[in-house]
């Protein structure tokens, strides 16, 4: 290997892997995916097929901007977003669980509805089409953690993010504790795996499902308000850009466990960051870079399914050797 190739390789490593800005970007851009993943996780662990994440994110983004716009305060915006997630997810739960509507159709309906409603509301409130921006809107400020920021190397990687980023990390840990250490989390997992077992033991299956859906609404709305107040400081139509579905995919990859889901989301954060990087480099037309997260989802789903099939086959073969 000659000196030139070495230099090239080092250069690539420097620019794409060992790069503080990239790592920061990865952590930041992973945040909405982490939250979307938790949204999918909490409902899937309760045995509910929730595809309304996309719409809930969009609503969260919009109401977050509304709150900040009305009160020029980012935290109020976040509060607005969370309440919207709670309420809309509550309606979703009501129709799907109580009124026995087909949950897949309800999810699709919510997503379509969210697109139309957010555009409509933007036109009503901001009198513009498609973009809700205004100097009155206050975004989330970056937070510097007092001692951590001074640690060499790790400091800038761990400090300086907006509140929701840190909140998402906390939520990953809290969700893990909830699911595995508290009675309600254990009941939720039981309801998801074997609702009849849970029912015969006196667990209120309906209440748990409702709670799971509403929690997922709050997670999704946080993802949305992060996009509109943390990442940008405005609402753009369709800004969720499929993250609700990508959240479902990372939940799949993470096997429904919060910490693996977190790391799977990191992968997507990395892809988003790389995409942004590559745009600057002018290697290929920007549109292929934009495609990356979605193509990545397809590829990852394929690999994941293949691996799972192979593992199942191996387990089956192992079993059959023990037969008479």
């Amino acid at each position: 290997m000659d000196a030139n190739t070495m230099a090239q390789i080092v250069d690539i490593l420097e620019r794409y892997v060992f790069n503080v800005a990239n790592i920061q970007g990865t952590l930041r851009l992973a945040t909405p995916v982490v939250l979307a993943g938790l949204c999918a996780l909490i409902t899937s662990r309760a045995g509910i097929l929730n595809i309304a994440g996309e719409g809930l994110i969009l609503f969260g983004a919009w109401f977050g901007v509304l709150g900040s716009y009305l009160y020029s305060n980012a935290m109020i915006g976040v509060a607005f977003a969370m309440v919207s997630g709670f309420i809309i997810a509550g309606l979703f739960a009501l129709f799907s669980l109580k009124f026995r509507a087909n949950i897949i159709i309800m999810g699709i309906a919510i997503n379509i509805f969210a697109q139309a409603a957010t555009i409509f509301l933007t036109r009503v409130v901001a009198k513009t089409a498609g973009v809700f921006a205004d100097p009155r809107i206050v975004g989330l400020p970056p937070i510097e953690l007092p001692f951590i920021k001074d640690i060499p190397v790790l400091g800038p990687i761990l400090s300086g993010y907006t509140a929701i980023v840190y909140l998402s990390w906390a939520l990953v840990i809290l969700t893990t504790i909830f699911l595995y250490r508290t009675p309600w989390g254990i009941h939720l997992r039981a309801v998801g795996e074997n609702p009849r077992a849970a029912e015969t033991l006196g667990i209120n299956v309906s209440r748990i499902r409702f709670g799971a859906v509403m929690a997922s609404g709050v997670f999704a709305s946080l993802a949305g308000v992060y996009l509109s107040l943390g990442h940008l400081t405005m609402f753009v139509q369709q800004m969720s850009a499929g993250r609700g579905y990508i959240g479902m995919a990372v939940n799949n990859f993470g096997g429904g466990q919060p910490i693996p889901v977190f790391f799977a989301s990191m992968l997507f954060g990395f892809i988003y960051t790389i995409g942004w990087r590559l745009q600057g480099e002018r290697i290929m037309p920007v549109y292929f870079i934009d495609m990356l997260p979605y193509v990545a989802t397809l590829v990852a789903l394929t690999l994941f399914s293949l691996r799972r099939r192979r593992a199942l086959q191996k387990a089956r073969a192992g079993n059959s050797n023990e037969e008479d």
């Binding site: 595809i51 129709f95 009124f99 026995r100 509507a101 087909n102 949950i103 897949i104 159709i105 309800m106 699709i108 309906a109 379509i112 509805f113 697109q115 139309a116 409603a117 555009i119 409509f120 036109r123 009503v124 089409a129 498609g130 139509q237 850009a241 499929g242 579905y245 479902m248 995919a249 037309p285 549109y287 292929f288 934009d290 495609m291 979605y294 193509v295 989802t297 397809l298 789903l301 394929t302 399914s305 293949l306 099939r309």
Partner: protein, 377 residues
Amino acid sequence: MSNTAGALSRTLGKFLRRSVGIVLSILAGVFVGSLIMIWYKQNPVEIYGQLLKGAYGSQRSLFIGLQRATPLIFTALASTLAFRTGVFNVGVEGQFFIGAIAGTYVGYAFQMPAIIHLPLTLLTGFVAGAAWAFVPTLMRQKLGVSEIVTTIMTNYIATFLISYLTNYPMRADPTTPDTPPIMPTARLPQFIEMTRESANPLGKGTQAHLGILVAVAVVAVMYFIFKRTKIGFEWRMVGISFPFSEFAGMNLDRTFISGMLVSGGLAGLGGSVEIMGVWREYKNLFATGFGFKGNLAALLGGQSILGSTVAALFYGSMEAGALGLEWSAGIPRQLIDIVVGLIIFFMAAEGMWDFVKRIKWARAPEEERRTTQELEA
């Protein structure tokens, strides 16, 4: 015999019972819509009145309604076909655009007599849409991956791919990302173009085009296929009960795959028709939501071929009305989407229970099967 009278009254009763749900849902949706209007400081009765006038009040508005309904008919049919076969095609949006761009290319890149060019362009749209549905279908049948997530991913990929195409290889003009216009031989004539010279010009001030006839023809063909062909029978039966169809000997894989591919093809055909009739070059249509509105119309129409078509026509006329409303009262036209969305919410609450079971079967064949015992107990 009293048997026939009995049968008739029973069928009527069932129809009425089912319609009650639909009527109530429409009323509920309209009611909530009124609340929105009141909040917007408008009189709901006036608004709905203007809406209806805008939709049906003049020849012009009827034509606008037809024009707006045309793409929706295609996407609603695509959605319906998939649903009836037992799959969810949420990628109708992307397949529509891919069909549109493919049709555009064939439309401007070739010179041939209209008698060949027109059908060829239509066919291209169909094939392109079907091809776009291929990967999600394959992933579903061979890998067991839910087609909901995969089809939506293909939507996003489609929009970016098309942006690339219109910005680079298919670009006509260095200043704007537009494609060259399609040849006159590949265009679907608009009514006003055909009747401009005559005493009674049709569709003045609108872009209504012959694509509506193509749409109607496709509806007829789909209806025929479902009622009178082997593949239509298989689509129907597999969608109704796949354990039964498997027992009877039908090939499930082939049925699901063909259903999805034709569904994608219909969406792609719709995209091509829209370009050929209205725009005559590829314009950025992404924000128009043809696919999702088609999904909504299919839901409204109860996932039947004729019902979806009627719903699409209705949706189209409502859009025409909403456009008028926008000009006169300044109410954003998304209001219609919202009201329709609400109606769907209420309709869905009727409980399409069977459908969920079908989906469960498609996901995990190892799961516990419902037995006759459970049914008898």
